[in-house]
């Protein structure tokens, strides 16, 4: 999917030669490959750069965040060891994140820390937050992790029909959430 679109990163346009003729002029080779989503209909178009420019579509190919991300994640693909790294909290593997482009839980930012740092540097040119802070302290990452683990345990308890344990965990989660809200 990602390699069908033109990616324009820091190094200028990266264009894929596929041997397909431009659908508009039918003369030049198509080097711009567009996937348009018009509401629910998906349409693929292949144009040469001249025709794309005339249609005013060339610019949309630049700066697609998810393409940049996908391209960088692909570069990691060879490293098989990295692909197997798994988050103990949500169970997502690095390979799954790489393919879907979405993380599974907040803790993944720690679990995939080194791998993500490069992604963050490329996308944002930075790796330290300097903006707004939430008003409440209840959102500290330790408490968040603990809640996540408790929920996971609760789910397991329900699935294995340990209802007393489930009830205990449910109350504990409730207490911790309320404590977080009033802190």
């Amino acid at each position: 999917m990602a390699d069908k679109q033109v990616k324009r990163g820091v190094g200028g346009p990266r264009v894929k030669e596929t041997g397909v003729l431009c659908q508009r002029c039918k003369k030049q080779q198509a080097t711009i490959h567009l996937t348009e989503i018009l509401q629910t209909e998906k349409r693929e178009r292949h144009l040469c750069e001249d025709c794309a420019r005339e249609e005013g579509v060339a610019i949309k190919a630049q700066a697609n965040l998810h393409d940049i991300l996908a391209g960088m994640l692909e570069a990691h693909q060879e490293a098989g060891k990295e692909a197997a790294i798994t988050c103990p909290d949500c169970g997502i593997t690095y390979a799954e994140f790489r393919n879907g482009g979405r993380l599974g839980c907040p803790h993944d930012y720690e679990v995939f820390g080194d791998l993500l740092r490069e992604v963050l540097e490329k996308v944002h040119g930075a790796s330290q937050h300097v903006g707004k802070l939430p008003q409440r302290a209840g959102a500290d990452s330790h408490a968040q992790r603990e809640l996540m683990q408790l929920r996971r345990q609760l789910q397991e308890a329900v699935e294995s029909e340990h209802y007393e344990e489930a009830a205990r965990l449910r109350d504990l989660i409730k207490d911790k959430e309320t404590a977080g809200e009033t802190r």
């Binding site: 679109q5 567009l34 348009e36 989503i37 509401q39 629910t40 420019r53 249609e55 005013g56 579509v57 060339a58 610019i59 949309k60 630049q62 700066a63 697609n64 965040l65 998810h66 940049i68 991300l69 909290d89 949500c90 169970g91 879907g100 482009g101 979405r102 993380l103 599974g104 839980c105 907040p106 930012y109 993500l116 963050l120 996308v123 944002h124 040119g125 930075a126 790796s127 330290q128 937050h129 300097v130 903006g131 707004k132 802070l133 939430p134 008003q135 409440r136 209840g138 959102a139 990452s141 408490a143 968040q144 992790r145 603990e146 809640l147 996540m148 929920r151 789910q155 959430e177 977080g180």
Partner: protein, 350 residues
Amino acid sequence: MKLDDLIAQPTSWLQPGGPQSDIILSTRVRLARNVAGRPFLTRLTAEQREELEAWLKAAVLKALGPQDVSWFELDGMPEIDRRCLVERHLISREQAAGEGHRGVAIDPSQRIAVMTNEEDHIRLQVYSPGLQLDETWRDADEIDDRIEQQVPYSFSPKLGYLTACPTNVGTGLRVSLMLHLPGLVLTKQIEKVFRAVSRMRLAVRGLYGEGTQATGDVYQISNQATLGRSEQDILKTLGAVIPQIIAYERQARDVLATESPMFVDDRIFRSWGILTHARTISSDETLTLLSAIRLGIHLSRLKGVAIAAVNELFLMTRPGHIQKIRGAELSEADRDVARADYIRRRLGAA
């Protein structure tokens, strides 16, 4: 408020009269937030998602005032209705196409829309007509605080607000301006402007976001980086770049009007002719022609047409809205006929 009433009303971001609204259609501020101690959407079980949705709905309604917003459940909502909400930019295409429990809170003026269980647990959006960076941010910031009083956010001191996609982490803030740039397109300077813009870590997209065409000479410009710069920095960058683009566009329009008046007039009146006489017309052609009409009004070459009517047509002729107006699902060919009809009546033509 019922959805049908909402769709029958004009939407805030197309209201004329905003600052610089001859060029800047709207300012949007979007914040991405997730609830502390919960997996992101991709790892939520159906039950967890349902429970979270109920909690978020209650929290968002309480934060915004239940009397001040309407809640719409998207799971099970007819496709045409979801499409209309997308066309109004009140929900995202992803939110419309998604599955499972998810919703949106919308205020009657359609300035505020809070999506739940989209890519992130909460996506808060505030719109203003024209160029209003600081005002729009101030309101979004304030609503964000109110929601946070109900819901603890997932936050790390190092990485800021934690989001499902690393491209949003940090401030979770995306500020987007919708620009109408027919002058730069006609004078073939648009590429140059966008090359300059992308060097500032700003992204350029079409009318309906990522991967859509810049139909009707409407472009969206937004900040790309969300980490390592404060909300104020992001606003400042846009606040510096956008007035320059406005100046270029004004210059281009002046050049067209003084150096190629015949070319411009032909384009404007040819567009007027087609819009007021066509019997079948596609939505893309409509936007292209409306763009010329909008230019004609702002260049004072086309008199007696209200900009409000043009802005309204801009929205009401989209595929979802034209079906909503007709109250029936229509094939593409039937939509094109219904659209031509609607335009002729709205512009008072035969």
